[in-house]
Amino acid sequence: MKKIAAFVAAMFLLTAGAWAQDGKGIYNKYSDNEEVSAVYISSSMFKLMGNKMPNMDLGEGSSMNLGSIIKNLNSMYLLDCEDPDLCKEIKSDVSKFITKYDFELLMEIKDKGEVVRIYTTGNEKTVTQFIMTASEYDAFTFICLDGTMSRADLEKAIAKATQNME
């Protein structure tokens, strides 16, 4: 009987561990922590935004309409942490999530002690998940965009934003 109880407990922990390994799970796990700034935007809100929003300001007087991208998003999770120990824990969960869902590393930037990584999943035409992590010794930012985005539109939006910042 004890063995059965131990086995059920182990299965429970394993399943609970697996549960934390996606954007929603990671957000739920850390969003209530006082050391973490968290933002969640739902698909309903994205639909409202996509229909009614003006062009997005990208700085230097430039703007573009991101409605087509935003309308197709299901969720956006953002976690920003400045506690080194907690950062380590979030990083570990994010790393498991990235490994589990076979994300492709799109870009890695190492600059002045900061490591930025951008990952996507999907196919040649469509991105179903977009993740960006920015990691420093004592800070960690996790952004997860979930939905069906046209890869071309997403790249165009980011490229345009990049051009406008130059």
Binding site: T15, S44, I158
Partner: protein
């Protein structure tokens, strides 16, 4: 020819007398036939033993399979059940913003942040371009 009952009714002394009667000829092939029969009996008993062994083994395997398959099925059911119940019970977070305009401003910042970081990467790549060109020229 004597019948079985007649033989059974004979006394020991009568049997001895018959046995010692050398006038009765023993069939030439009797020894060979007895040997063949004995060998056939031996083989039959061996085969029976082997069949029993195989049956016992297959019964043992069946028991082992049964012992493994029940817990395996239980593990599968528990895991699937827990996973489903967890998936159902993952609470959907509450929207951080009630106002779509505020959410849009947040998205603006997120895209700006992503662009800023990518821009840093582009700058590093641009700075490395002359070095790459020089290397390519040297290689040519």
């Amino acid at each position: 020819m004597k019948r079985l009952e007649d033989i059974e009714n004979l006394s020991i002394s009568e049997l001895d007398k018959i046995a010692s009667d050398e006038s009765i000829m023993v069939p030439a092939r009797l020894k060979h036939d007895i040997a063949v029969t004995a060998r056939a009996l031996e083989m039959a008993s061996k085969e029976e033993e082997e069949t029993m062994d195989t049956r016992a083994k297959s019964k043992r395997y069946r028991n082992i399979l049964r012992m493994i398959s029940y817990p395996a099925a239980a593990i599968a059911i528990i895991t699937i059940g827990m996973r489903l119940s967890f998936q159902d019970s993952i609470p959907t977070p509450k929207d951080t913003f009630d106002d779509p305009m505020m959410a849009y401003v947040q998205m603006e910042q997120v895209f700006g942040f992503i662009s800023e970081k990518m821009n840093t990467g582009m700058d590093i790549a641009d700075a490395a371009e002359p070095v790459i060109d020089k290397t390519i020229n040297v290689l040519r």
